[in-house]
């Protein structure tokens, strides 16, 4: 019996990770928080350790209006131009 697959026919995306960093010294960090309880506080605490131990600088804090939607494209574009790496959260 021939059955059609019930899955989506959207082609698989190709994605690449950012290259590794040579050093963390003095780098610029961006934070995107998702509005969940303590999300901003948690991400700030992580960033604070990079600031204290690696001389990093927190450049940008952006907030997603909707925790369960991807960050709007212009949020990522804007943040990416100003930072060397990003910290964000997933889930609750």
């Amino acid at each position: 019996m021939q059955l059609y697959s019930p899955l989506s026919t959207t082609p698989k995306r190709k994605a690449f990770r950012a290259p590794a960093l040579a050093s963390l010294d003095g780098l610029r960090i961006g934070i995107i928080e998702n509005g969940k309880l303590n999300a901003e506080e948690m991400l700030n605490e992580v960033a604070a350790l990079f600031v204290a131990r690696n001389g990093c600088v927190v450049r940008t804090l952006a907030s997603k209006k909707n925790a369960s939607a991807p960050a709007p494209g212009n949020t990522l574009l804007n943040v990416a131009q100003e930072v060397d790496f990003l910290i964000t959260g997933l889930g609750d």
Binding site: M1, Q2, L3, Y4, S5, P6, L7, S8, T9, T10, P11, R13, N66, A67, S68, A69, P70, G91, D92
Partner: protein, 359 residues
């Protein structure tokens, strides 16, 4: 990027073995599905005039699209007849709108299921149930349209229980949550008319429903008494939020409300005014949020919002109320929103009946 051609699986010819095959592929909701044989899918697709590769919904979180073809495959698996397909398509066209946020409502620990309310003549044409046992089993159209929604969320958008659907308690509506609005004996205009559709056009309203609360009242005999018990249910501490509401009034309750001359708008106003909790009470259970209070009582505050209280929703229009269920029983129901605020707003879409099916 162009969609891939739909994949075909070679399954055993034996029907029971094919059902097992579908289980092994992980395509089911835990119940057996109808194997999506090629000829059945083609028959389902004939219920929509557009090319099968037409995308009718997009999932921002994964980038995956729902094509008419994939919708048809899952509709067959759910047990739908082709004449149900336009309802399912309209449902996803409504759910696709950003304000509905079907990803959030499906992925959330809050455990919502999309409730579909079908209004208008098409509900009768395809034999939907608007009557006794409204939310229960037994009607093929209600059961399978709702089921197809879940199979699509699972199979097409990969919203898998425990993995990408993190609902803490789940929700029985995740199996199927689809009803028809009762027109027989309903004194109020049907939803499709209130939504602005032309005469003869039916609609489906999609709502991210967080559960089901039966509201029993056999002694009340005024609108205030009957709707008072509904309002209290809407404002219980486990449910009260700025989110929307769906209220289905039993015919017994509707008779009391309508015999007193109350319109839908009067009922909405009453429910909004009464479905509230004092802020001290909310603080007592750890659910008071100042920014939520401010959004309800700020510059756009509705005139019926009382200071010192959190009402359910932001305005009376946040409450969809209509009639449904059997003639006997003082049992209405309230469906709380998944969204605690404006994270998902109910959406409606017209049901497009293909040209060769129009009478």
């Amino acid at each position: 990027m162009a969609a891939l051609a739909p994949r075909i699986h070679d399954a055993p010819d034996d029907l029971l073995a094919a059902i097992d095959y579908c289980y092994e592929q992980g395509w089911t909701d835990g119940l057996p599905v109808v194997p999506p044989a090629v000829d059945r899918v083609k028959a389902m697709l004939a219920a929509d005039d557009r090319p099968p590769e037409t995308a009718i919904a997009h999932h921002p979180a994964t980038g995956l699209d729902l094509s008419l073809h994939a919708a048809a495959v899952n509709a067959v698996m759910a047990g739908c007849l082709p004449e149900y397909f336009p309802v399912l398509v309209a449902a996803f066209e409504a759910m696709d709108r950003p304000d509905f946020n079907f990803h959030g409502s499906t992925a959330s620990t809050g455990g919502s299921a999309p409730l579909l309310v079908v209004s208008g003549p098409y509900a009768d044409e395809i034999g939907m149930n608007a009557d006794v046992n409204l939310f229960g089993p037994g009607n093929r159209a209600n059961a399978t349209i709702g089921r197809a929604v879940r199979l699509i969320l699972r199979n097409v958008f990969q919203m898998l229980p425990g993995i990408s659907d993190k609902s803490t308690q789940g929700n029985p509506g995740k199996y199927s949550f689809c009803i028809a609005e009762r027109s027989r004996g309903n004194p109020w205009p049907p939803l499709c008319e209130a939504q602005g559709y032309a005469e003869g056009v039916s609609s489906v309203t999609a709502y991210a429903g967080g559960g089901f609360c039966n509201v029993e009242n056999h002694g009340g005999n005024t609108p205030e008494q009957v709707l008072g018990s509904v309002a209290d249910t809407m404002a219980n501490y486990g449910c009260i939020t700025l989110g929307q509401s769906v209220v289905i009034l039993a015919p017994e309750h509707m008779r009391i409300v309508a015999d007193a001359g109350w319109t839908r708008e009067q009922a909405q106003d009453f429910l909004f005014r009464r479905a509230k909790r004092p802020i001290e009470g909310l603080k007592g259970v750890g659910k008071y949020r100042e920014r939520e209070y401010d959004s309800q009582h700020g510059g756009d505050a509705h005139a019926l919002a009382d200071a010192g209280f959190m009402h359910r929703g932001l305005k009376p229009d946040d409450i969809l109320i209509t009639m449904g269920g059997g003639d006997a029983g003082g049992h209405s129901c309230f469906i709380p929103s998944w969204s605690r605020g404006r994270g998902s707003i109910m959406q409606h879409a017209p049901i497009a009946v293909p040209a060769n099916k129009r009478s």
